[in-house]
């Protein structure tokens, strides 16, 4: 191949050659630019890390609740021992009674179970068709008003949460948090008490207007059944008194 042939090749194909060089230049510039780009323009933690953090916190939450339940059992056993060995039997009895009233013992009795679930057509209007934390707050309030002695909420696949002195029922966008436990529908709201009074409370269309309007309009699911033997587990949340003292 002599020089004239090479020159001729370049003259004939110079557009293609220049295009190839331009592409190569683009790649080389980009690679070098990225080498100087150790961070994103908005330095946020990648999604995968948030996923893992949320999962870890969820697992930690369950573990902590289990540990508290376990230590409470140990305390119960020790208090029983104390009751047998010391003179403070009356005091132990009083503490036992208070523990029962505050929800730290399992509750059994007649009652009702309310099932609250999203409407079948959830895409129609999310605000109307979904079951919300506010629905459960309203319902719990009505059940207390009707004389319930114990109330719990359980979401699909989650553990039951007894409503206690510090329990909050919050909407966390796509899930409901009851005492810190994340729940998804259908929700089972159980209440121990006079079934007739409790059922009547759930049928109060005026007090539960927000629920009944959506039952009628979009088919929000709201069912009540009575139970002859209902068991509600003990409250496993925190009962703190760091600031309040008995006067």
């Amino acid at each position: 191949m002599n020089l004239a042939k090479v020159k001729n090749f370049f003259l004939k194909n110079y557009p293609q050659i220049l295009a190839t060089l331009a592409v190569a230049a683009g790649i080389i510039i980009s690679v070098n630019y990225n080498r100087r780009l150790p961070r994103l323009i908005t330095p946020t933690i990648p999604y995968s890390e948030l996923d893992s953090l949320e999962l870890r916190l969820d697992q930690e939450h369950d573990q902590l609740k289990e540990q508290i339940a376990s230590i409470n059992e140990s305390i119960d056993a020790r208090e029983q021992l104390v009751k047998e060995k010391t003179v403070s039997e009356a005091l132990v009895e009083e503490v036992e009674s208070l523990k029962d009233r505050v929800g730290l013992t399992q509750a059994k009795g007649k009652g009702i179970t309310v099932t609250l679930d999203d409407a079948d057509n959830r895409n129609a209007d999310a605000a109307q068709a979904l079951s919300h934390a506010t629905d459960m707050r309203d319902l719990v309030d009505r059940l207390w008003a009707a004389g319930a002695s114990a109330i719990s909420i359980q979401g699909e696949g989650s553990k039951e949460e007894r409503i206690g002195p510090t329990t909050s029922i919050e909407c966390l966008v796509s899930v409901v948090s009851v005492g810190g436990t994340k729940m998804v529908p259908p929700f089972k709201i159980r209440a121990i008490g006079n079934p007739t009074a409790l059922v009547a409370a759930t049928q109060d269309r005026e007090a539960l207007k927000n629920i009944y309007d959506r039952v009628d309009k979009v088919g929000l699911k709201f069912n009540v059944e009575t139970n002859a033997n209902l068991t509600i587990e003990k409250f496993t949340g925190n009962i703190t008194a760091d600031y309040a003292k008995i006067k």
Binding site: L18, A22, A25, G26, I27, I29, S30, V31, N34, L40, I45, P46, Y47, L53, E54, L57, E60, L64, K65, I68, I71, S74, I75, R78, E79, V82, K85, T86, S88, L91, V92, V95, L98, V102, G103, T134, R137, D138, D141, R142, W144, A145, P165, T166, T167, S168, L172, V173, S177, G179, G180, K182, A207, T240, A241, Y243, A244, K245, I246, K247
Partner: protein, 202 residues
């Protein structure tokens, strides 16, 4: 001169094309390298951050509770043979439950808030829920002590509300006044921190 012009136009046109090809190559390479480095990264949604923050706060509360329970368990174990010590421990437990049940008058730091609106039952329910999230240990609304089983619908329809809350006064004050807090989302009003509030029993 006309030949020079024609050549000049041709070269310019080709240079423009070459520039566009080089820019396209840069964009494609950039996107590919970013994808390889960070995956399909996007800004985390606020909802996820809210859930994580809530979980974190809840876990912190549970850790405190666990630590207190462990300490109580150890005290019981150590004091099992000492009736005075046992009595002291049991009295402390008793006080904690009595505060939760509202069976005694209580005192402590907190916040007093006033709302001059007629509140619906749902607003009162949301208000108390927000206070519980903020760590309220004792609450009264218009002088009535609020406990777990108090039906808040019984307090609806009044024209003024005085809300007194015992707990960490700074956290509870913030729960009332911060943007997106109780005054912002439920009903406007005024709040003030208190060094010592005395709340009645149920």
């Amino acid at each position: 001169m006309p030949r020079l012009n024609k050549t000049f136009v041709n070269i310019t046109r080709r240079l423009i094309w070459l520039g566009l090809i080089a820019a396209l190559a840069m964009i494609v390479t950039n996107q590919y390298l970013l994808y390889r480095k960070y995956g399909l990264t996007k800004t985390p949604s606020e909802s996820r951050l809210v859930r994580i923050a809530d979980l974190y706060a809840e876990n912190e509360k549970l850790k405190t509770e666990l630590s207190q329970r462990e300490s109580h368990d150890s005290e019981l174990a150590a004091a099992a043979q000492n009736s005075d010590e046992v009595r002291k421990i049991l009295n402390r437990e008793k006080e904690r439950y009595e505060i939760a049940l509202g069976t005694t008058e209580v005192e402590g730091q907190g916040v007093t808030a006033e709302v001059s609106y007629t509140l619906a039952a749902s607003q009162l329910i949301d208000l108390v829920d927000a206070l519980r999230v903020s760590g309220a240990e004792a609450i009264t609304i218009n002088g009535q002590r609020i406990i777990t089983s108090t039906p808040l619908s019984s307090l609806r329809g009044q024209s003024n509300y005085k809300i007194e809350v015992i707990g960490n006064k700074d956290i509870i004050y913030d729960a009332f006044v911060r943007p997106g807090g109780i005054f912002d989302l439920i009903a406007g009003g005024t709040a003030s921190r208190q060094e010592n509030l005395i709340l009645p029993k149920v």
